[in-house]
């Protein structure tokens, strides 16, 4: 019996998110008297793989094959399912990010395992499993019961603290069966430096308070200093000031960064619905009565043209020091 945690890699490296997942899996393992097993797919060096052992994974399985270079949902699902069966996994844990959302549903059907997406804690009971997740775009918390023997969770970002727990786990290579790979990459169009908004840990967003599409340069610089994704509110993308991919909100992208800096955004419900799972929301606005301050953790009432350059300087100092 095991808790299987799938750890995605980014160009061969893990992120803080990966360690949060392993910490969570380790907690589950403790509660169920089983082991946490970490699974990596792709070309990841042993040194990097061993990192997963620092957070409570008792075993680290690596599947590295050429055919797995590109994410093909069907093939990856099959590989993870094979490992789940091999390890007799009772619960599978994936990230609540784009990859996790692509794979967990397929796994649910393949393993006939109940899927609870965006969980925010460990289950309150295990037989059956009772667990909490966010719903109605952050408007309510739902309690879900899992009826099947196996369960799959995708873990909401910022729900589990990273907990160090060195196990000195060994890395095991697994030779998975790869079937037909139907999805092939024909072309890649990358604008280097542009961070995928959906999974970004820090996001800087601009609203109508920016006054015009011409004023985005300071925001872009701030994003660059922070290594952040860039977002905007709906009116901004509707006006054509920024591309539609940047629109965050109930009808745009729903994201959950650690830090969301909202510049000149008044805080309409539809926009806030897109960032309800943010760990920390900072708002800068000239209007002290702007609704966004009711939902922020920190706020500055001030002129963006003054505040943003000051922020850039201050963040630069922190990065340097």
């Amino acid at each position: 019996m095991a808790i299987l945690v799938y750890c995605e890699n980014w160009d061969g490296k893990f992120k803080k998110l990966s360690f949060e997942l392993v910490s969570y899996a380790a907690k589950l393992a403790e509660k169920t008297n089983t082991e946490a097993v970490a699974l990596s797919i792709g070309n990841v060096a042993d040194d990097e793989l061993k990192q997963l052992g620092k957070f409570g994974a008792k075993k680290i399985i690596s599947v590295n094959k050429d055919e797995l270079k590109t994410l093909d949902n069907k093939v990856y699902t099959s590989v993870i399912a094979q490992v789940a069966e091999k390890e007799n996994a009772q619960i599978l844990v994936l990230a609540h990010n784009l990859t996790g959302k692509a794979l967990s549903p397929r796994l649910s059907v393949k393993l006939k395992a109940g899927l609870v997406s965006g969980v925010i804690e460990i289950p309150s009971t295990f037989a059956p499993i009772n667990i909490k997740k966010k719903s109605f775009t952050g408007g309510a918390i739902a309690n879900v019961v899992v009826n099947s023997n196996t369960a799959i969770f995708t873990l909401s970002p910022n729900s589990c603290e990273v907990a160090e727990n060195e196990t000195n786990a060994a890395v095991e290579n697994f030779d998975a069966n790869i079937g037909n790979v139907a999805t092939k990459v024909v072309d890649v169009n990358k604008v280097t430096g542009k961070i995928l908004l959906s999974d970004a840990e820090i996001v800087v967003a601009g609203g109508r308070g920016m006054k015009s599409g011409e004023n985005w340069a300071p925001l872009e610089e701030l994003a660059q200093v922070l290594g952040a994704g860039i977002a905007c509110s709906r009116p901004v993308s509707d006006e054509g000031w920024r591309p539609h991919e940047e629109h965050v909100g109930q009808t745009g992208k729903i994201i959950a960064p650690n830090l969301y800096i909202a510049l000149g955004i008044s805080g309409a419900i539809q926009h806030l619905g897109g960032v309800s799972s943010t760990k920390c929301l900072v708002a800068v606005n000239t209007d002290k009565d702007a609704p966004i301050f009711e939902s922020s953790d920190y706020g500055i009432v001030g002129d963006i043209r003054k505040v943003v350059p000051a922020l850039i300087e201050a963040f630069k100092e922190v990065k340097a020091g």
């Binding site: 775009t137 309510a140 024909v186 992208k253």
Partner: protein
Amino acid sequence: MKILVCISNVPDTTTKVKFVDNNTKFDVTGVQWIINPWDELALTRALELKEASNGAIEKVTVANVGEIGSEPTIRKALAIGADDAVRINAKAEDAYFVAGQIAEVVKKDAYDIVFCGIESSDYNGFAVGGMLSEFLDVPSVSSVSGVEIENGNVKVYREIDGGKETLSTELPFVAIVQKGITINPRIPAMRGIMMARKKPLNVVEPVALDKLTEYSNYEMPPAKAACKMIDEENVKELVDLLQNEAKVL
């Protein structure tokens, strides 16, 4: 070629979230129901593809798992331009159950492309598309920001870190789409609205399938702590707090 678009009946985005029956059921009094916004975008794109295909795409069907209360929303999809609709007569509570029902419809009528919106605005489940593809044992592509059909070949654009990938895949497949697939949902024309009732809306009974999960009850999220205001002359204080108090840097 035939396209199927899965549509979900969800409360309007401005609805206040409330529960009844001891917090076990979502309060539906006075709720305006709409097509899940991402499904509406998917439907619009499917119709654009059909119109540009010169007859190669013969029809666009919408499928919904829901009780009779879903029918006005289904008819809106027909008004927008879908050719016909299927309603599987059951409550849409568990994604596994919903996906399994739609799989039966897809298998029966041999659709080539299935569109699903990336998530539904009520339960924020994103699972139906992926589950459906596994039930059908076909490829799926997620985060689809564009679909084009050229000479019968399907090109799919998927958003990635820093940009996008162009992919080819085998038919039939399931595309799980997000905003970008098209920008604005289509507004139904008067003609479409008047014809909606004349288009076929087939109701089928569900097949027996387990519900793997169940929503037992709801809670309101914990109240938020008040916002800490920082003076605009003292931006450094904010950075300090972010680093040492919030620990997000």
